[in-house]
Amino acid sequence: MKAVCSNIDGVIAEVKVSVGDVIVRGQEVVNVESMKSIISVVSEIGGVVKEIKVTEGDFISEDDPLIFLE
């Protein structure tokens, strides 16, 4: 399984995918609120969403895994 990781510290504002979704490279998967701005996390890889590690309101750090793809 491959992880899509956060590119910034912040709070999860929106999870835009569900388990089982097929996502493509370049797709926005999660929005993170950091310093009052909304930052999109874009997947660098394509695949099927196997697991979602975060929910809205969670605090995450840069490089934390957000979702796992297969």
Partner: protein, 445 residues
Amino acid sequence: MFKKILIANRGEIAVRVARTCRRLGIAVVAVYSDADATALHVQTADEAYPLGEPPVSKSYLNAEKIIRAALESGAEAIHPGYGLLSENPQFARLCRENKLTFIGPSPEAIELMGDKLAARRLLVSKGVPVVPGYNEPLSNEEEALQTAAELGYPVMLKAAAGGGGIGMASVHGPDELVRLYKECCFRAKSSFGNETVYLEKLVINPRHIEVQILGDKSGTIIHLYERECSVQRRHQKIIEEAPSPFVDDLLREKLVQAAVRSAEAIGYENAGTVEFIVGEDREPYFLEMNTRLQVEHPVTEMITGLDLVHEQLKIACGGLLSGKDMPKPKGWAVECRVYAEDPETLRPSPGLITDLSLPEADGLRIDHGLLPGYKVSAFYDPLLAKEITWGENREQALGKMTVALMKTRIDGIKTNIPLLLKILGDSRFRAGAYDTNLVSRLLVP
């Protein structure tokens, strides 16, 4: 005068308010979230009360906890700073109910000016010019499309409860309106708890100019001239100056009269700012009133020699304003907001400040809440510091600013200093011939 006050804020503004209190012999009570336990505003206070977890909803916006800290500490008054609870009428009311002086206007004035639509309606009735638009909320997308067509594109979609540049979007056609309408309602709801939006005509190439006012208990309103705030990114100011290079005597007279009339219309008490948008026709239109101390208040202090926090405290203690509270302005002042963000993409840059070196010079003031080893938290605003310079004229103030920014070192995170320097070196900015589109023009590769 008060003996002890609580400052319900964090960062540079909490440090700045405390500085005036210290000068006046007033004891300072700080409050802090878990993320700010070692912050400068806590270290420089006489006492400090923890508020809990870092998110503002659980800490700095927790009115009950803050009131409890004030009562426990024996503070007589609360200074709200800007942002956070500063424009929350329920909080001002809660202070009143607990016999704590809220250092700011009445809850009624905050409430009225917080509702942009109600404020528009009132001021139109008092003869204050407002941006052409509709004074009623939009109830759905169809109504938005119809209203926009009547006004004529481009239009500005705005949150009725909005402020600080959040929850607004310029719209150039119906397709864009359909795309932005829901997003704007969503942002309005999530940021202000009220999804009401309305439409105004978009003023093309606007200047954003505001007037500082003070009002006392007896109803006397005075103004402290204008501040030019047109250098913005994402509708948020990054460089301000006073006076405005765009304003001549005629425009200044129109601005200050409209500002004083706006404040009189609501019987405004304490420090406030009336914001205007000025189009190419040089006519000022009321935009909104900020019922608190502004981030950029130091430029007014630098040209008037006043301490606006001291003025706020005097007014809150029942002091009356007189002519000597309105000194003639002298020289030129500029403020640059140093943000934790990438200077090219404007992306926030939270993280650890590994090393810090701030310059000192004549005519330079730096308001900040920084320490080496301080972690700039993702939970809060990216404002790191405000550098303010004063000169005999604009050229001198800008020259001092360029040197100050070049000598500022904040290591470990990205800052917008390269962008600020780029703006200071831009020929349109240098000539004073800029509008709110300056930064987006400079950022185009």
